[in-house]
């Protein structure tokens, strides 16, 4: 049986921290779990923390790209945080540029990136009360008002 990676929810953001060396099956499972969790939670952001990940091969790299694409279709932004320098160097040499995947150096910066992305996608001025309102009704309303 493969390891299952927990998907944590913090406000409007889903957080996944990969802590073990996952086999391919576990990687696919994570991809499916995350897509389901984005829909179930209505989260607007996904943060994938790979601080503890020692290697990213083409399979995991593809998973990161795919999650970013799936999330985008489900109205959520994905940020990959904590990539090690050796992993970045290896990915480029391997030929994987992870196009379409946003990255941030730390979890903190990743969360801020998501906040900014959300604020700008909702248009100016209204973003401050967003966290209190809490229900997803506000986003479609704002979009419908144009």
């Amino acid at each position: 049986m493969s390891d299952q990676v927990p998907v944590l929810r913090i406000g409007q953001v889903l957080l996944v921290s990969i802590q073990t060396d996952l086999d391919d099956q576990a990687v696919m499972l994570l991809q499916d779990d995350l897509a389901a969790a984005v829909v179930d939670s209505g989260a607007h952001g996904v943060v994938i923390d790979i601080t503890a990940v020692e290697i990213v091969d083409s399979f995991v790299g593809r998973m990161l790209s795919t999650i970013a694409s799936i999330s985008r279709l489900l109205d959520a932004q994905t940020v990959v945080v904590g990539m090690r320098p050796a992993v970045a160097i290896t990915l480029v040499e391997l030929g994987l540029s992870l196009g379409g995947v946003r990255t941030a150096l730390t979890l903190d910066k990743g969360l801020r990136l998501l906040e900014q992305a959300r604020a700008s996608s909702l248009g100016g001025g209204t973003s401050t009360s967003q966290g209190d309102a809490g229900d997803e009704g506000t986003a479609p309303d704002a979009a419908a008002g144009l």
Binding site: D21, D23, D24, S58, F59, T90, L94, G95, L96
Partner: protein, 137 residues
């Protein structure tokens, strides 16, 4: 070409879990060989790609891993062998983005870039053997 005082380790690659085991075994050898962190990462990544190829395209096989000492250089050598269908066109198989399955087509070409020596020995019906070596600097 064998490791001084120690036999090569042979890992059967017949399931997903073996790809994880391959990475762990190679990590241990790379550290023992005192490869730099970046060199370790490149070698483990290449091993992961090739172990997956052995499993998926070769229908399973083995990885033979050893520390080697040649002309005063120390390195890690990995041999991935399968009895699968073999590769008809090796030039094509080594082209970025080309795949016979549903992968990204970076396994062979990418891992070649990640190591110092790369030897591909294959023919249709004769299986595939990929030998890679990473030398300590």
């Amino acid at each position: 070409m064998n490791s001084p005082g120690r036999d090569p380790q042979i890992l059967e690659i017949t399931a997903n879990a073996a790809v994880v085991q391959a990475r762990q075994l190679v990590r241990a050898l790379a550290q023992e060989c005192r490869l730099s962190l970046v060199e370790q990462t490149k070698l483990i990544t290449a091993a992961s790609e090739l172990a997956r190829n052995t499993l998926i395209y070769g229908g399973g096989g083995t990885m033979t891993a050893a520390l080697v000492d040649e002309r005063g250089r120390r390195g890690v050598r990995l041999v991935f062998a399968d009895q699968g269908p073999g590769i008809p066109d090796t030039d094509l198989a080594l082209t970025d983005g080309w795949t016979s399955g549903n992968g990204m087509g970076l396994g062979l070409s990418g891992s070649k870039r990640l190591v110092d020596d790369f030897v591909l020995d294959t023919a249709p019906g004769r299986g595939t053997t990929v030998t890679i070596t990473k030398w300590a600097r």
